[in-house]
Symmetry: C2
Subunit: 373 residues, 2 copies
């Protein structure tokens, strides 16, 4: 059997956890690895789907000989749960298996767990250890949506942008299709799968008539909720002609509007009325309202107008996914993804953290967090 | 001694070659590794400075026991030279050392070499092999400036841009300093060191009063040639007050202007007169003229106006270095690096090749080639 270090063991747990992408929300992505008392890798496991067994239990069950678990070392990206939820308590399962130590990535802020899982392990005489700061950061990233959900009243919001290298999302004529490559577009569908809903502005629906569902080899074709910002509900008039309407249950088409009075015929769609603010609808209220109807995470694929609204309230934004094509289109006749956002002085800029970049064939994918999120 | 595969040996040669950065132009960056007939790494070497010994000779001289060279395998990123130049012929040195095989990355297009080096080796009974296509590409990248110089009448032109993630290089108010981080700025000085001259527009000198020299731990403080595009030679009037003038030999300040008549007092600076075109000075003529005065490579650090002129003639551009800071400034009040460039239709876009990305602390450095260059 393969010998692994404690660093490798946690890295394996993180990689395992990622495999739950798209299937566990609103639960966190969690991975686990188990190493024998002699340092040999015994098993790995991950939380595969919402309501299903937790990563620790999967990893425990993957071990053929229960004897080998005695004194074994468990590496798990998130604190094991202490409570009896949909599945049994993981802390109890680990105690029963007589493992020797548990190394965890990040504490669970869920008040039903919050340190109780670790306490339960310690009380049973199991050595409990934090992982290294670098790996802890990766574990936090793995569970970022969940951690946000436990501590914020807003949904976890990611903005998706696709532009040329010079930030052009369309020519002024409106020409814009296929700026990025096929591989980037597949990745967009992969990302969508992890979010509770997609958000676009009215204009995007009018101009592009997109399906806005999930089409990806890992997930097949999947329907999802779509949120449309449309202050006057103009789109409702002929929504039945739009592809996003005919391809899903109408109630999964959610309008954010200023229409506080009862709307005569919603055509089965959902309407969430929010107050107006200086620059259109009050986005703050909209986000609170979406969270209340169970939307814990939101993937924003709006055009420049919608993006501008979010940039003016950067505290509402967690993450940015910028797909950059290998092309220069020229701002002289181009529409910039940030043209509806402006700052008066450089010190008013939006600061990004954790900026990183990945090659996708001829494109790049830049990922970043908004500072402080 | 360490055993290495032929792939590793060529990768080592490429890494060696990079060490000549900033000191070999207009010669190519070249690296070499030598592996014994038993597969053990004997030595490495690189072309350290213009006029100095070539990589192959350095690597041969690094081997203590000449006997071990008999039947050895030589890996060199560029075809060994056949001619007696400033230094002896490398092909002859390899033949004299009785090596068994030579694997090369790219053929030397220099008419004094062009296959003659390889031929000389083959005639002496040495096995001559091309490296893999992937490594050959890396070898071409290593020697890109030199290869360009052998086949083009223009200088090798790289554009350097520093912007926010949304492509803003300054606010409309003019505020622009320090958009990118210290580490990016150090890298800029490193890049400058490899180029024969820096080019800026008049406006950049007026607004920023930059030194435009090289200040980098690897190279100390180094003076270099500066090219200023200034159609009416307006800057000449008070050039002596500018930092770039007082920090270098005046003749290294080269104006590109439309002043075809004799200028009464150039203050020791150089003036190159070129015809005017529809959009300012004819850049094509300017590039040809710079090449004629010995500028083989040019690092363009102009603002949006200068960049626009190059984007309108993408065949003059080889490479792009885009430093991206982790910030969003908003195009609503921002100046885009491509705002003086426009296309009427998407199919007129500038296509980039070999796009890649590297993290530099809180910034990203995106590198790309113009397609077909």
């Amino acid at each position: 059997m393969r010998k692994v270090s404690s660093i490798e063991a946690m890295e394996l747990a993180i990689e395992e956890g990622k495999k739950g992408w798209g299937n566990v929300a609103p639960n966190p992505l969690v991975g686990c690895s188990i190493v024998s008392s002699k340092g040999e890798l015994l098993s790995v496991g991950y939380h595969r789907q919402f309501g299903g067994p937790h990563a620790e239990v999967v990893a425990l069950n993957n071990v053929k000989d229960p004897e080998s678990l005695i004194g074994a070392h468990v590496f798990v990206t998130l604190e094991p749960c202490a409570h009896q939820g949909k599945t049994g308590s993981c802390a109890t399962a680990l105690v029963d298996a007589k493992v020797g130590s548990v190394t965890y990535g990040v504490e669970d802020p869920n008040p039903l767990v919050a340190g109780l899982g670790l306490k339960r392990l310690q009380e049973a005489g199991i050595l409990v250890q934090e992982t290294t700061p670098e790996l802890a950061k990766k574990c936090r990233d793995l569970a970022e949506m969940f951690l946000h959900g436990q501590t914020s009243k807003y949904p976890f919001v990611a903005l998706k942008i696709a532009s040329s290298l010079d930030g052009v999302i369309a020519l002024k004529s409106g020409e814009s299709r296929w700026i990025t490559s096929e591989r980037s577009r597949i990745r967009v569908h992969y990302l969508r799968a992890q979010f509770d809903a997609l958000l676009v502005g009215r204009k995007t629906v009018v101009e592009d008539d997109p399906l806005l569902n999930i089409r990806h080899p890992d997930f097949g074709e999947r329907s999802n909720r779509v949120v449309i910002i449309d202050p006057e509900l103009k789109l409702l008039e002929n929504i039945e002609k739009k592809r996003l309407f005919s391809s899903r249950n109408p109630k999964d088409v959610i309008f954010i509007s200023a229409a506080t009075k009862e709307v005569s015929d919603l055509k089965g769609c959902t309407n969430i009325a929010v107050p107006e603010s200086q620059n259109g609808l009050d986005l703050d209220s909209a986000m609170l309202a979406l969270r209340k109807v169970g939307i814990e995470s939101l993937f924003v694929e709006g055009g420049a107008y919608t993006l501008g609204a979010f940039f003016r309230k950067p505290y509402l934004v967690n993450k940015l996914y910028l797909f950059v094509s290998g092309s220069i289109l020229g701002m002289g006749n181009g529409v910039s993804w940030s043209e509806h956002f402006e700052i008066a002085r450089l010190d008013k800029k939006i600061v990004l953290d954790n900026i990183s970049c990945e090659g996708l064939d001829k494109d790049l994918l830049v990922t970043a967090k908004i500072q402080g999120k």
